[in-house]
């Protein structure tokens, strides 16, 4: 998805320390809760999923400057809990490579891990009713929307983005600061930078939402296509024998 990897130095220490703590607790809880024998058998599969996620992140999608992360797909294939662990591993490696801050790795894991948790859980819930491919689209879209909303709410709550105007992510305009003698306040405000989408000019939250929705649609479609591919060649991967430990 067109998620934003938080860089170092943006989030106050108390928040990233809490992010580390919570993500580690979730990882430990997932590993502790599961049957060790069965998880051990899953390790190579989880590692392969993590490696595929790392590799697909470097596959270009043409002129659009974003990559997919397939966290929701990891949740669907591995199960929500193990999907979260895979996201943790991928984020750790990415953080060491400078793709997302090392201090905010916990927060990035929580935000992207939500995609694996929600995507995996929703897919399991829906596939019986709607079939695998429609469920994959719905689950991925819901998971990505939720993780995006969480990220924006979090950044807004710590004052990094302005939720009222959409400033901070794609917002390019500025507001003159009020001067002591009032002179600076009289300066004209520059208009918000506009982003052009096929002849439609968008600014502020409209631009943010347009970019994010485009990312959500693209990743949902690709995830559904991957699930559809599996349903044709190896349906047992998508619909395995029921296993409560997964």
């Amino acid at each position: 998805m067109s998620h934003v990897h938080l860089p170092d130095g943006v989030v106050p220490a108390i928040w990233w320390a809490a992010g580390y703590l919570i993500s580690l607790i979730v990882v430990f809880a997932v590993l502790k809760r599961l049957n060790m024998e069965k998880v051990r058998g899953k390790i190579p599969e989880m590692a392969m999923m993590a490696a595929v996620m790392l590799i697909t992140m470097s596959v270009p999608l043409g002129f659009i400057p974003f990559h997919m992360n397939f966290a929701a797909l990891a949740g669907m294939l591995m199960g929500p809990g193990l999907g979260f662990v895979v996201v943790f591993v991928v984020n750790f490696i990415l953080a060491l490579l400078g793709h997302g801050g090392i201090t905010v790795m916990g927060l990035n894991t929580l935000i992207i891990g939500v995609e694996a948790l929600v995507g995996g859980a929703a897919f399991r819930l829906l596939r019986g009713k709607f079939g695998s491919v429609p469920s994959a689209i719905i689950s991925t879209a819901v998971a990505l929307l939720l993780s995006t909303a969480l990220m924006i709410l979090f950044l807004s709550s710590i004052g990094v983005v302005d939720i009222q105007s959409g400033g901070g992510i794609l917002h390019g305009g500025y507001h003159a600061e009020d001067g002591v003698d009032g002179h600076e306040a009289e300066k004209p405000h520059r208009h918000d930078t506009e982003y052009i989408f096929g002849g439609v000019a968008l600014a502020g939250w409209a631009a943010v939402m347009a970019v994010l929705f485009l990312g959500i649609i693209l990743e949902s479609v690709v995830t559904a296509l991957v699930v559809s591919f599996f349903m044709k060649v190896r349906p047992d991967i998508i619909n395995p024998v029921p296993d409560k430990d997964r």
Partner: protein, 238 residues
């Protein structure tokens, strides 16, 4: 991702940093990270960035890959610095310097320390299963990367990739990801059976004798102390 190139730099380098042990390098990384994240002075951060670049030069790392990897932190820092730039240039630069500086620190560790050594050190503190996942991921990455490379090349050669045809790219990418996943799952089953035959029962033994410190460790530890002292008393260069 340049994972292979970084790994090659770490494994084949002969500088004093390459020869130092993981604990001393992790100590230096923590000191550098603390100095970068904790600083609120643009000038001090600028000096730290110069020190980091000098360290990279001393370690004789290839800058082409490092610069390419730095694109991500610079881009994402700029995204968040946009609002700060409205306050002042210094505030904006601070965000960019912190994001880029921290990335330079972690890349320095990776360019001078093989992944396996890092995981081996972490195995003392993390659950064995998690460390195993890290090691298997590392191994899987190198197994898959060549196959993905040739798959992407064949897609391009057969006209399956066009920069301006997003729909076609998406369809082909989905098929490629599906193929890679399918192949990787089948490979993982074989890999697990091979590991079982070799006696794997959870926890790959990768312990090292960390307490044995040498001359390179001394250099790294002194440098770490130097950085901490410098960050605390805020160097006054002029």
């Amino acid at each position: 991702m340049h994972l292979a190139a970084i790994d090659q730099m770490a494994s084949s380098g002969t500088s004093v940093f390459h020869r130092a042990g993981v604990p001393s390098k992790l100590l230096m990384m923590l000191c550098l990270l603390g100095a970068v994240i904790g600083s609120s002075d643009v000038l001090a951060l600028g000096v730290l960035m110069v020190i980091l670049l000098i360290l990279h030069l001393m370690a004789r790392v290839r800058f082409k890959e490092i610069v390419h990897l730095l694109f991500y932190p610079v881009f994402f820092s700029l995204l968040f610095a946009l609002l700060k730039f409205q306050e002042s240039w210094a505030s904006g630069l601070l965000v960019v310097f912190k994001g880029t500086g921290a990335a330079l620190v972690t890349l320095f560790l990776l360019a001078t320390t093989p992944w396996v050594e890092i995981f081996a050190f972490l195995s003392a503190y993390l659950p064995g299963l998690l460390v195993d996942i890290f090691l298997f991921t590392y191994r899987s990455f190198f197994i898959l990367i060549d196959q993905v490379d040739s798959l992407l090349r064949s897609i391009k050669m057969k006209g399956g990739y066009h920069p301006f045809s997003l729909a076609m790219n998406l369809k082909n990418m989905a098929a490629a990801v599906g193929l890679i996943l399918l192949h990787s799952f089948e490979m993982s089953e074989r890999m697990y059976k091979i590991y079982l035959l070799r006696g794997y029962d959870g926890g790959i033994p990768i312990t090292r004798r960390w307490w044995k410190l040498g001359y390179p460790d001394g250099v790294v530890i002194i440098l770490s102390a130097f950085i901490v002292v410098g960050a605390v008393i805020r160097w006054r260069l002029w």
